[in-house]
């Protein structure tokens, strides 16, 4: 928080100086781009990029909520942040004439976010993924030989969780990314905010609460997975794949694998968007158009191991990424997957009560 305040102060102080060379202020997730793409954009356009990162939607929304953030490009997740920003009129409609590369986007994927952004007027998909189970399958097979490795039961059935607890279970600290999967496992509407559904989700979560080692931010989970400190986590698909890559680099004697739950995985999309009050919308359009080129997108996916929405980039990827079902889910998984909704303020309040109770364990 102190760092954020300092950044904010710096931004305010720097604002009057921004006139001379064109500057693009990008606010993106941490570890979420290919550094080469930034370098090449600056070289080709002469626009200087000032790059800031966040590690949670909460941080992004917090900064945007106050207004006049000073950013030209933000990368909110489709549900709930992008949806809320569209509804609040906080995003600038994209001028598609200036983004010819938008035709490279997969229309089937773009339709998935058209529900919250009619006609895809405010955003283009950057990267996407699922929420699922990251694990050390070797240890789990030892501790719970009869547990299904591709089911949320691994986590949410106390019989399995209690046995796996010995080697560490983590859940990411995000009601909006966890509650839908829990409701799905309970065969209820994943986006329900009805009180009996939320009560059921709370009971299910409290039943496994004693077996959890931590409820924490997803970068911490990646770190703990790669260090071998935990062997099961409910987290983003890309986190699991990044943790696996880190464990390999460190020559650990175990592998981290990812499974999209067979009950149906929560899909999420991170969307390139321009705040309504962006100081430099021209550069922002140029940047979006630049990113949507197949070879740039292939570079980004190779770097961060999340799938993109530009199909022409897939043949440019090495086979081991192209064929990794953790990165690019198969048709059946996609068909079973669901998109989380965006509850209203009262619904948020109700979900937050459930989540606090779960974290406090009472």
């Amino acid at each position: 928080m102190r760092r954020l305040l300092m950044l904010l102060a710096l931004l305010l102080a720097a604002a009057p100086l921004r006139a001379q060379p064109p500057v693009l202020n990008v606010y993106n997730w941490a570890d979420y781009i290919d550094p080469y793409a930034i370098e090449r954009f600056q070289r080709e356009t002469g626009i200087r990029i000032r790059y800031d990162v966040y590690d949670s939607l909460e941080t992004l929304e917090g900064k945007l909520s106050a207004g006049r953030s000073g950013y030209d490009i933000i990368v909110p997740t489709s549900e709930p942040t992008f949806a809320r920003l569209v509804r609040a009129g906080a995003l600038r409609p994209l001028d598609m004439a200036r983004i010819p590369n938008a035709r490279n986007l997969d229309p089937a994927l773009m339709r998935r976010i058209a529900g919250v952004d009619a006609g895809n007027r405010h955003g283009a998909i950057y990267l996407w993924g699922t929420v699922g189970l990251a694990m050390r399958a070797d240890r789990i097979r030892q501790l719970a030989p009869d547990a299904p490795l591709d089911s949320l039961a691994l986590l949410l059935d106390p019989r399995h969780a209690s046995r796996i607890a010995r080697c560490g279970i983590a859940v990411m600290d995000s009601a909006m990314d966890v509650l839908p999967s829990v409701l799905r496992f309970l065969e209820r509407d994943p986006n329900s905010i009805a009180s009996d559904d939320l009560q059921a989700a709370q009971r299910a979560l409290l039943a496994i609460r004693p077996h959890l080692r931590s409820v924490t931010a997803s970068p911490t989970i990646v770190d703990a997975l790669a260090a071998g400190e935990i062997c099961l986590a409910l987290t983003y698909s890309g986190d699991a794949i990044q943790a696996g890559a880190r464990a390999r680099e460190a020559r650990r004697d175990f592998a981290i694998t990812y499974a999209a739950p067979r009950e149906g995985a929560q899909l999420w999309f991170d969307v390139l968007a321009i705040p309504a009050d962006a100081p430099n919308p021209d550069a922002a359009h140029a940047f979006i158009n630049f990113l949507l080129q197949p070879e740039i997108m292939a570079g980004i996916t190779r770097q961060v191991r999340y799938p993109n929405a530009v199909p022409a980039s897939i043949p440019l990827l090495p086979a081991e990424l192209r064929e990794d079902r953790g990165i690019f889910p198969d048709e059946a998984t996609l068909a079973r997957s669901f998109v989380a909704g965006t509850p209203d303020a009262a619904g948020e309040r109700a979900r937050s009560r459930v989540w606090n109770r779960f974290k406090a364990g009472r």
Binding site: E58, E61, G62, A66, A227, G228, E229, A345, N356, G361
Partner: protein, 276 residues
């Protein structure tokens, strides 16, 4: 003189009354979709919903209570540690004193988050302490250190110790040592002198040091979040998550006001008892 007074009131108004007023106004506003995600009470009328919700929510009330317990324990530990440290520093040979003081203060020249990150590196399952214990053959499985109350208090005491040490050091340095000498001349042993003369005289300074730690510690959320157990839901963390996570600004405002009210009690109590 009047310019000084103007500056004082201007400062109090801008840095204390105005932000406080905004937070209280938030707490009686209503949540809304938009930027910012709240309707101010003068736009759509005041509402006590957030306060009612808070009064019914035992989890956040527990968070408030736990904040006070954690802050009190931290302040107590800090004062208990600062006492012997201050006395030890003053009794050290004069040429060592600056070096010792510098060593005490050195960690605080490094970034706050960096220090917390260092504790994580020491305490985690694959961290230095566990690696050392395993290498020495003392344990086979790593001890759970990170994410426990132990880690929480290590981080808190480490972060807040100077707030207790510096005021105590200042008091000890300027105390009237003749009283202790007189007691010693009259035959009291060193421990009796400390117990019957030094300690009672130092009491107000110790209470001041306690408060100096207690108040900022009660609102702390970074250390409990990064080092403490997952259920260490303290008030600071609850305010943060309501403000940023749920974007429930009225509720966050009510919580922040409640924390402030609770903190006013010890401050007023200290003023009442005439201690300074």
């Amino acid at each position: 003189m009047s310019a000084l007074r103007l500056a004082l009131w201007g400062w109090l108004g801008l840095a204390v009354a105005l932000p406080l007023g905004i937070v209280v106004a938030l707490s009686v506003g209503t949540g809304a979709e938009g930027v910012p995600p709240v309707r101010w009470p003068w736009e759509e009328g005041a509402s006590l919903d957030a306060w009612r919700l808070m009064a019914e929510d035992d989890v956040v009330l527990l968070a408030l209570w736990r904040s006070l317990v954690v802050a009190g324990t931290t302040a107590g530990l800090c004062v208990a540690l600062a006492f012997p440290m201050a006395l030890g520093l003053l009794r050290a040979a004069p040429r060592w004193r600056p070096l010792l003081l510098a060593l005490v203060l050195l960690p605080f020249l490094s970034g706050f988050l960096l220090r917390v990150a260092a504790w994580i590196g020491l305490l985690r399952d694959s961290g230095w302490i566990n690696a050392l214990l395993i290498a020495a053959g003392l344990i086979e499985e790593p001890l759970r250190l990170l994410g426990t109350d132990l880690a929480l208090y290590l981080g808190m005491v480490h972060a807040y110790l100077p707030f207790a040490l510096l005021p105590l050091l200042a008091w000890f340095a300027k105390r009237d040592t003749r009283l202790e000498e007189a007691a010693a001349d009259l035959g009291a042993g060193p421990f009796t002198v400390f117990r019957t003369v030094t300690l009672p005289l130092a009491w107000p300074a110790a209470a001041g040091a306690f408060l100096l730690v207690f108040i900022p510690a009660a609102g702390e959320f970074v250390i409990p979040e990064l080092l403490g157990p997952p259920d260490a839901m303290l008030a600071g963390r609850a305010i943060w998550s309501e403000f940023f996570g749920t974007r429930d600004w009225p509720f966050a405002g009510a919580l922040a006001t409640a924390l402030l009210l609770v903190l006013l009690i010890p401050i007023l109590a200290q003023q009442r008892s005439g201690l300074k």
